[in-house]
Symmetry: C3
Subunit: 137 residues, 3 copies
Amino acid sequence: MKIYNEAITLQSTKVREVFNITWQVKAAVEKSSFRDGIIVVTSLHSNSAVIVNDEEPGLLADLDVWLQQLAPARHDYKHQGRFESNSSVHFQSLLLHHQVIIPFTERRLDLGPWQFILFIELDGQRPKRISVKVVGE
Amino acid sequence: MKIYNEAITLQSTKVREVFNITWQVKAAVEKSSFRDGIIVVTSLHSNSAVIVNDEEPGLLADLDVWLQQLAPARHDYKHQGRFESNSSVHFQSLLLHHQVIIPFTERRLDLGPWQFILFIELDGQRPKRISVKVVGE
Amino acid sequence: MKIYNEAITLQSTKVREVFNITWQVKAAVEKSSFRDGIIVVTSLHSNSAVIVNDEEPGLLADLDVWLQQLAPARHDYKHQGRFESNSSVHFQSLLLHHQVIIPFTERRLDLGPWQFILFIELDGQRPKRISVKVVGE
């Protein structure tokens, strides 16, 4: 068993944006040359998320509306003003989770046909870092 | 450190159903013959979830109501119609998360006395696949 | 690749309380003497959570309010009375998730500058156990 590390940096052009990073994660597995293992994909920012789900545009638009309904931006949060992101953005990140583990077997990611690895930028326009750690053999 | 892989396939008889898969995960650890390690349990479908929680029937009934309140089925989602599952089901899956990692030590799962590994079928009646990857020694 | 195990036990003085356990996780990595790997941090209780997020006090106060709005304590849950925690606490635990994976590289945790490892006690005043499993080399 060995470890291969890679860092992805993304810079959104919008405040909220979804990036399909499946191919970058696949590329990391190829560079590792491991046949079997797991990949830990982690955002290093509390105002973003990493999920596995379908990337159909209607679904992603619905998701954005739903997140803002469940954890709306508000003016009476205690955490705001001088902080980078409003509490609502932190809650949306917690809801979606900031990381996923992707199992892979025979060099192929164990993903269903409608599963993609998505980086969800919730408060963007700044460079964001994603840690990709491949553990395998 | 080595890897042992197993796939679980489940077919629900109802649209929404909970399966306690703790014993299947235990069986995978036994087959691996590893003493210490982690098990990555991942659903390959975005309309289901894998959680660790109590399996008391009242709690599971409450959970089903709560999920449908927080992410209700609606007629105005952009993602619907020709797609397999309505957006509400995807959101419920994201809320619960589609995977868990189970640590194990001395061949025993590190679970509390009220923790079980549950597969939550959110839009079923079709076969669903769960990847079980045991990494250990 | 090897495994190093550690157990953290916490006892809150309040019903709801947040513990920053980042230094305990760092200490476990130091004791392991591994340079590179992952740490699986898991609560063994379904009425608590482990998250990675900022620990600014205003944010944590907002989080507590938000959790109780999204999954309020109610008198008509089926799971209550003779059980340790009301369904609302289980739902809050599911929302936040009961575990995180921390990647580490060159003996340093791969955390962003505003990311800390937090144990969220949701129904406390009893000792709670957290499993810390370091897998690395």
